[in-house]
Symmetry: C2
Subunit: 237 residues, 2 copies
């Protein structure tokens, strides 16, 4: 029990933060489940992801609404304003993360019954593991207002990009080797892109947490290493 | 010359709207130029798109900042608050549209010197024409507060989805017919996806304009017709 008198403004701020954390947990779960569904070819789990993205979208709108009303009612000063804007931004990134997980889940349904060599999925699974870890850490850094952990996520974004670029090449090569791989690999390319973008959103969240806790913008361009959109694979002889 | 006394709050609102319209024009231009660069294989134009996405991102942050400060300072009532929230939402969609155009432009650079039969690009060009028209109309509807035009854009989103799904199938078929098409078609698939998502953002903007002008949410699920993530193409015998 605290014996502080908690103002109703503090209550508003706490409630806002609590909802963002809740939304973070839900989004994280959607990502993990969509990748599991892909790896295990589990159409039922994929369906669940598609359905459960709805509540995440709803939560984003609620957070935005509550944030705007709190700003309008309380006329917060700089520090508190930062808190509220951060909640809106993080919710925005989490909503997009949920959408990307849903897109992966839809592709799982498309692939039911397809020619599906397990080794083709392995690269996507590996990359997902790293992105999920990044997402977990950055959500923890938001909950605990830990600028150092946020910075760590931000600095590691390049790793995911390197992995994605090499995966892109690998999948293109499989397609060229055996045209039966084309349909699966195309969907896997989009899944890999979804996961890479989830990593980008985790990095955005890291920027927001850093700004929230320090008041400083991470202005230097983060070291972008995704060159897949610049990648072409020579046609093998 | 008007002889009304214009309050500084009105000035704030007008300035916010003006910046959103400006950002709309810039984003629209990025989309048009990225598609032109793709069709004409114009690396120089693609570079320009990549560079000019920066100012669009900056404008989004400025709009968000100005919106939040206006809410905090003026404590606006419902109608004005809607105006400000709409500006933030539209800016958010426009920022994403700019990013998608930039991604297409990067792919143009990847394709320099690739095997590049013109007919493969035609479907993407056609689809872009429709999406660009949707974007133009919805930005006009924002500038003129025209709920009916916004609703029209919202109702037509399904057309783009149908086109995208058929283009997805077509590109997969080209890949299966001739492996030399794989690299180009993969990038074209991502370009087509970018354009389909630009269409989605135009539809989001339509929802925002409708909400802004009528105070009503377009709650019924818009008729989603993109089934490409559910598409698989049988391996041709």
């Amino acid at each position: 029990m605290t014996d502080h008198i908690v103002s109703s403004f503090d209550t508003d701020l706490k409630e806002l933060g609590r909802r963002v954390v809740e939304m973070g947990g839900q989004s994280e779960r959607l990502v993990a489940d969509s990748v599991q569904a892909l790896v295990k070819r589990d159409a039922e789990l994929a369906q669940k992801v598609i359905v459960l993205d709805g509540p995440v979208d709803l939560l984003q709108r609620e957070i935005e609404e509550k944030a705007v009303l709190t700003i309008a009612r309380r006329q917060p000063l700089a520090g508190d304003l930062r808190e509220i804007v951060a909640a809106m931004r993080v919710a925005n990134d989490l909503e997009r993360i949920g959408d990307l997980a849903k897109n992966t889940a839809k592709r799982v349904l498309a692939l039911t019954g397809e020619f599906h060599p397990q080794k083709l999925v392995r690269g996507v699974e590996h990359m997902s593991g790293i992105v999920l870890e990044q997402l977990k850490v950055v959500l923890d850094s938001y909950a605990s207002r830990d600028a150092a952990r946020a910075l760590d996520v931000w600095q590691r974004d390049g790793e995911v990009d390197v992995l994605y670029t090499s995966l892109f090449r690998e999948l293109l090569t499989y397609m060229m080797e055996d045209p039966r791989n084309i349909s699966l690999c195309t969907h896997l390319l989009f899944c890999a892109k979804n996961i890479e973008r989830i990593g980008d959103h985790a990095t955005n969240i890291a920027e927001t947490v850093h700004y929230l806790t320090t008041g400083q913008l991470l202005t230097e361009e983060r070291p972008k290493q995704d060159t897949s959109s610049l990648t072409s694979v020579a046609f093998p002889a």
